[in-house]
């Protein structure tokens, strides 16, 4: 019996018009029933490799190919994409774009209809596939009236209806909130237990690492840098992945690598789960936090939101009497599931929505009495999709445009623009069109256009979306630098790692109500805050909770891996 699901030998691929290959000499074998995770820095070719598996590359996208890929014993180069559909199913990053029908049941029937199955067989497959992902009750709904997580489950179901033996996923949780992500993780867990072959490209290992049988690391040149069992790869290369390649690694291995480095625990294979790690860390001694954990006793309020309610024209009550304050020069994270009211409050703060009930004051500026054009002189807003904000044809013009709008003089404009370009490391790209920049560069430019006017408050909507560790670290370091000059930052995010590492304060909104405001480390002390807002506790928080149950005295202020390591006095 054939045991190989995928065999890739000496595979290289160059996009049409590109000077260098995106993938170079890839050799990889995936056995049937394996769960393989592909990781690597932004632009390393993860998506390209996924799209090569069913022939999208090169049959649709063109380009030069060397070497070969066998999927389910079929040579991909010799079969059309459509012919590969019953062998390998692909699920893409953006759930909305991959759905082509109006109704859920039609979407699932679409594949079986294409392979000329009988009406009875199609209906049977629709029922079975929708049941598998838990969408049987929603079959009559429009595809656009369900949540992002449900849309992604629908995309999986529509692929499953063709009964492929292998499923490939290209960053399937990138566009999802924690609820949607948990839904997809659940479906993948089920598939794994059903012995399906799964290959998934993702920058977020935390959710999937315990399911993986193989971890494949691609480097910047599109070569396989490492391939093997996840804990072995992370033990051997974890530090390099994080610090040199700029790739997110799970929190538990990251912690153990740092503890091993300081010789606090012995150098051995790192754990992947909290339970595994507990045994190694249960005898540690903790001391009081070092000076790196700062306390601010005299905070100055920059934003005051008082009893704000808001309803959309269709009657949706997005906010119900929300009140909170934001401190000057602090980073405040706003958390909550999609549709909770996070974006509504942010849009009210910049004047994009009319404030009818309640008051918002920003830097002694009453929002009710001012227009957006006045508010933007004091408040910057970075949208989730940076391209939406670009209005000029070059990087330099984008930045100088912001200065012109504010009313800077010509000689000042040039100097300030140059400073900003250098601060955000965009020197090489100054004359390029903003649309041709990489994802990380676009994000940096969008933040630069807002910071150049020296706002007192900067609002960021999902700034870490689709960014690797290196991009996020570089962006956050510039933001921290600006905060030291007095800029206050509000960040809407689903990324709990970023919240734990960078936020000074946290606001949690759920169903239009404010359910928590306080320090990030206290957020997990009560289930009331997190269950209702469906927030998922980061592994480090879970580990600390378990260690505290074992009577270890971990200081309350600890919330990042580095703080945890700093607070350890002695070891086993």
């Amino acid at each position: 019996m054939e045991t190989k699901a995928i065999e890739i030998s000496h595979y290289s691929y160059t996009y049409p018009g590109a000077n260098s290959p995106t993938l170079t000499d890839i050799n990889l074998t995936v056995d049937k029933g394996e769960f393989v995770i592909l990781i690597g820095p932004s632009g390393c070719g993860k998506s390209t490799l996924i799209q090569s598996l069913n022939g999208i590359i090169p049959h649709i996208k063109g380009g030069d190919v060397h070497g070969e890929i066998l999927v389910n014993g079929k040579l991909v180069a010799e079969h059309r994409v459509q012919e590969m559909a019953a062998n390998i199913g692909l699920v893409f990053q953006d759930p909305e774009s991959q759905l082509c029908n109006l109704f859920i049941s039609d979407e699932v029937a679409f594949g079986p209809e294409n392979i000329l199955l009988s009406k009875e067989e199609i209906l049977e497959r629709v029922q079975e596939s929708l049941g598998y992902v838990g969408l049987s009750d929603a079959s009559w709904k429009y595809v656009y009236e369900i949540s992002g997580g449900q849309q992604q489950r629908l995309a999986i179901s529509s692929v499953l209806a063709l009964e492929p033996e292998i499923l490939a996923f290209d960053d399937p949780t990138a566009n999802l909130d924690p609820v949607g992500t948990a839904e997809i993780v659940e479906v993948l867990r089920k598939m794994k237990s059903d012995q399906r072959t799964i290959i998934i490209a993702t920058p977020w290992l935390d959710e999937f690492i315990t399911m993986a049988t193989k971890l494949v690391v691609l480097d910047k040149e599109g070569r396989i840098f490492a391939c093997g069992q996840p804990n072995e790869i992370l033990t051997k290369y974890g530090k390099m992945l994080l610090e040199e390649m700029g790739v997110w690694i799970p929190q538990i291995p990251e912690l153990e690598i740092k503890l091993q480095e300081k010789k606090i625990i012995p150098a051995e294979t790192v754990s992947l789960t909290v339970d595994e790690s507990l045994n190694k860390l249960k005898n540690l001694d903790f001391h009081s936090p070092s000076s790196s954990i700062q306390k601010d006793n005299n905070p100055e309020t920059i934003v005051s939101v008082n009893r704000v309610s808001f309803s959309y024209p269709d009657g949706t009550r997005a906010l119900k009497g929300v009140s909170f304050d934001i401190q000057k020069a602090k980073l405040t994270a706003i958390l909550g599931p999609n549709g909770s009211g996070k974006s509504t409050i942010a849009k009210l703060m910049i004047g994009l929505l009319p404030l009818s009930e309640g008051d918002i004051r920003i830097c002694d500026f009453d929002l009710k009495k001012n227009k957006t054009s006045d508010i933007t002189k004091k408040v910057g807003f970075v949208f989730q999709n940076p391209e939406h904000q670009f209005v000029q044809d070059t990087v330099l013009d984008e930045i100088t445009y912001s200065l012109k709008v504010i009313g800077y003089k010509e000689d000042e404009i040039q100097q300030k623009a140059e400073e900003m370009i250098s601060l955000f490391e965009l020197e090489e790209h100054r004359d390029r069109h903003p649309y041709v920049l990489s994802g990380g560069q676009k994000r940096r430019l969008s933040v630069a256009t807002m910071l150049v006017g020296q706002p007192e408050l900067l609002i960021l909507d999902e700034p870490t979306y689709a960014q690797d560790f290196r991009n996020v670290s570089s962006l956050m370091s510039v933001i921290k630098q600006q905060m030291s000059k007095g800029v206050s930052v509000v960040m809407i995010t689903h990324n709990m790692r970023i919240v734990q590492d960078y936020a000074d304060d946290v606001i949690v909104i759920s169903h239009g109500n404010l359910i928590y405001q306080g320090k990030p480390e206290k957020l997990w002390l009560s289930d009331d805050y997190t269950t209702d807002a469906t927030l998922k506790q980061p592994p480090l928080q879970r580990l600390m909770e378990e260690l505290r149950k074992l009577s270890l005295e971990i200081p309350d202020e600890v919330r990042t891996v580095n703080q945890f390591v700093d607070c350890i006095g002695g070891g086993n």
Partner: protein, 266 residues
């Protein structure tokens, strides 16, 4: 008012919704042709009333949605009417004058006819859009022998319309934050489109590429034919609607007369 303006399929269980897509299409085509042969304002006033009643009683569409959405085409018709008033100002006898504004009897007649024609065709298209699941429209086209790729192209386009609307809203907001408010007037509208077109096109192309490869990845286009869970069937109620419309047109024509495409005035 905005929330009542609907240019998409509205799901209900109604007589019109249950009718086959092709009969309803023939009904719309019949109306569109008929209004070009009607030259009496009374005939043309009759048609939107029929469409309003059909949408309300046979389509179970909310009366506010009908009125607000119909009014969009009334506004378009009004502009066309004003254009007729201006371009025919010198023809016929002056029946109204105030300052430099002069309205001749010919211009007034033509303005009414053109307004009502446009209004009627728009209303008929809306009734079709509200009550026809695009899937059945695509299946109907395929029944007529049109390649299924073409039918699906229309289906995907309709699926993406709401997404494009959302995208434009986000771009407007993002530009406003950059200090570029939406401009007013005809010149402003052109400038707005110039600004929004590039990001909408860039994102639209990216999304449509994903859609296209996601469809191919699910075997779309593998064979010349496809099977369908639901196949096209003429409905008796649909054919009855077409027959009724034909009778109404003939009766109206017999009562007040038919003409040619250009309105007659005597």
């Amino acid at each position: 008012m905005g929330k009542y303006i609907q240019f998409q399929f509205l799901r209900h269980d109604s007589l019109l919704h249950r009718m086959d897509a092709l009969s309803k299409l023939i009904f719309v085509v019949l109306i569109s042709f008929a209004v070009y042969f009607f030259q009496d304002v009374r005939q043309l006033v009759f048609m939107p009333l029929i469409l309003f009643s059909l949408a309300l009683f046979a389509g179970k569409i909310d009366w506010k949605v009908i009125l607000c959405s119909f009014s969009v085409f009334l506004a378009f018709g009004f502009f066309v009417g004003v254009f007729q008033l201006i371009s025919n100002a010198s023809a016929g006898e002056i029946i109204f004058s105030a300052g430099f504004i002069r309205v001749s009897d010919v211009a007034f007649y033509k303005a009414q006819i053109f307004l009502l024609r446009l209004f009627t065709i728009g209303c008929a298209a809306l009734v079709y859009l509200w009550t026809t699941n695009p899937k059945y429209f695509a299946i109907g086209l395929i029944y007529l022998g049109i390649p299924y790729r073409f039918g699906y192209a229309i289906l995907v386009a309709l699926r993406f319309l709401p997404l494009i609307q959302t995208e434009i809203g986000k771009i407007k907001d993002a530009h406003l934050v950059r200090g570029l408010a939406s401009e007013k007037g005809i010149k402003g509208a052109i400038e707005n489109w110039r600004r929004y077109l590039f990001p909408v096109l860039a994102n639209g192309l990216r999304k449509s590429e994903t859609t296209s490869i996601a469809m191919d990845s699910r075997a779309f286009g593998l064979y010349k034919k496809r099977t369908y869970v639901e196949e096209f069937q003429w409905s008796k109620t649909g054919l009855a609607l077409v027959a009724s419309m034909l009778i109404i047109i003939l009766v109206l024509g017999w009562t007040w007369g038919f003409g040619f495409i250009q309105p007659r005035y005597s």
